[in-house]
Amino acid sequence: MNKRSHPLLGLHSLLMMIFIYVPIVLVIVYSFNNTRLSGDWKGFTLDWYSSLLKDRHVMEALVNSLIVAVTSTVVATLLGTIAALTLRDLGKRWKNPMNGVLYMPVIIPDIIMGLSLLVLFSQLNISLGKATVIIAHITFSMSYVYVVVNARLSGMGRQLEEAAQDLGATGWQTFRYVTFPQISPGIISGALIAFTLSLDDFMVSFFVAGPSSTTLPIYIYGQVKRGVSPEINALCTILILVSITLILLAQYVLNRGKGQKKHKMLPI
């Protein structure tokens, strides 16, 4: 198809890539720009990074983000993996509706998820804080872990497990020595995705975070609303690099297994 494709198509694609990446690159470039106000380049500086490190509010938000991300990743990975493993043994009557519910957080708008959890917590008289943010993050991350582990599971077939059973392995032994080693790349990569999602989430956290549980994205939102400060460019640059690294790592881990069909990291 390519040989016959019009040269204008190539040009259009190039322009689109420039359109997508110029703003992102600008944020990174500006984090090193030695000026507070203008759009011109005024020389290289690392000042914004050092003032970021000294900022107490940023550090608090960072600690909150990390606590939330680590806790929710552990629980979401566990629950998502359990869901993927047990669901394939269930009959269609249970499997299909459960599958539908597990896909819901991927599909429903974040704003609806955030406000419905806010309403729930207030009805249960649970005060907003890190715990409520963690609960919310587990709820959506679990689905993504499920999707990734499930993809890995359905790609591997059941022959090896059946062979192990035929050779007298117990259910636990089969899982420990046959199933788990095969799906572990899926689990690790699901966990990395859950971690990234948690670190990046703004919309859901915005509704369920109390005043003492500001995360990095909520902090960024507050700063951006107040006006542009160059420290934000530095903070955004760090977050961009962390997110991309984690996702490329997840992709690498997922595709490491030999003979497995390649999984493309499409979040949908």
């Binding site: 689109m16 759009g39 460019n233």
Partner: protein
């Protein structure tokens, strides 16, 4: 493994308590009232839905639909050629193209939206460039306009459109295109009769994703539109976090979800009948 089916129960419990129940509460709450202090009063009322018929809210609702439809259309128009190009390129370019399209997904949309503040503000990059070149004498007001909001939305959701389109176009059997050209079809005719109808599922998925995401995104309006423009999601957000009128906020949320569902169904049907017409025409 068959004995451990009960292991699913924590998952069922969790999703029931933190996903299904909250949605049901919002649905119930949309039929409640609130007292003057902002507390929810548990007696049936249609106040939330009646308030919605105020011309102010209807106007915002209409603006939201227009903005979401425009965003979806522009995304579709600019993304299709890109997806088409990537799907037809060499494996190397395909791989890189996909990676480059996926990466923005994993960069926080707040950051991607904020990037446009750097570009569009009065002392921003665009104004600086235009002033330096002497093309304008005074900085243009670009930030806090409806155009800025539309741009921010399109920018944020391009990957949502390109990926499903790519998946759909890539799956098309290329021999059909060769056959078409052997039979004397022009490139355009082959595209119109083979590629386009068969990429329908991608158009469908991409459009629904972009439409629903645009309507639910209050941050872009907030950051790039300032106080001048707002969408239904901005009102929902402020009813929950500011004005504390939860029944009204819930009613708006229910209306938002219902609108999305209806539009998705209409869209689905429109695509279906087009495809069927084509089938009939070919036979």
């Amino acid at each position: 493994m068959k004995k451990v089916k009960w292991l699913i129960s924590p998952v069922v419990l969790w999703l029931g308590l933190f996903l299904i129940v909250p949605m049901l509460i919002v649905l119930v709450m949309s039929f409640m009232q609130r007292d003057t202090l902002g507390n929810v009063v548990y007696s049936f009322s249609l106040d939330g839905y009646i308030t919605f018929w105020d011309s102010l809210y209807l106007g915002i609702y209409w603006d939201t639909i227009v903005l979401s439809v425009l965003t979806t259309l522009i995304c579709l128009l600019v993304s299709y050629p890109l997806a088409y190009y990537i799907a037809g390129a060499s494996p190397r370019i395909q791989n890189w193209g996909l990676i480059l399209i996926t990466v923005p997904f994993w960069i926080n949309f707040l950051i991607r939206t904020y990037a446009w503040v750097l570009l569009l503000r009065t002392q921003g990059v665009v104004n600086s460039l235009l002033l330096n070149f002497g093309w304008i004498d005074e900085p243009l007001q670009m930030l806090y306009t409806k155009g800025a909001v539309l741009l921010g939305m399109v920018y944020n959701f391009i990957p949502f459109m390109v990926l499903p389109l790519y998946v759909a176009i890539e799956q098309i059997d290329k021999r059909q295109l060769e056959a078409a050209s052997d039979l004397g079809a022009s490139r355009w005719k082959a595209f119109w009769h083979i590629t386009l109808p068969q990429s329908k599922s991608g158009i469908m998925t991409g459009s629904v994703l972009v439409f629903v995401s645009t309507a639910g995104m209050f941050v872009v309006t907030d950051i790039l539109g300032g106080s001048k423009s707002s969408m239904i999601s901005n009102i929902i957000q402020s009813q929950f976090l500011g004005a504390r009128n939860w029944p009204f906020g819930s009613a708006l949320s229910v209306i938002f979800i219902l609108t999305s569902l209806v539009l998705i169904m209409l869209f689905n049907r429109a695509m279906q009948s087009r495809h069927e017409r084509l089938k009939e025409g070919n036979s």
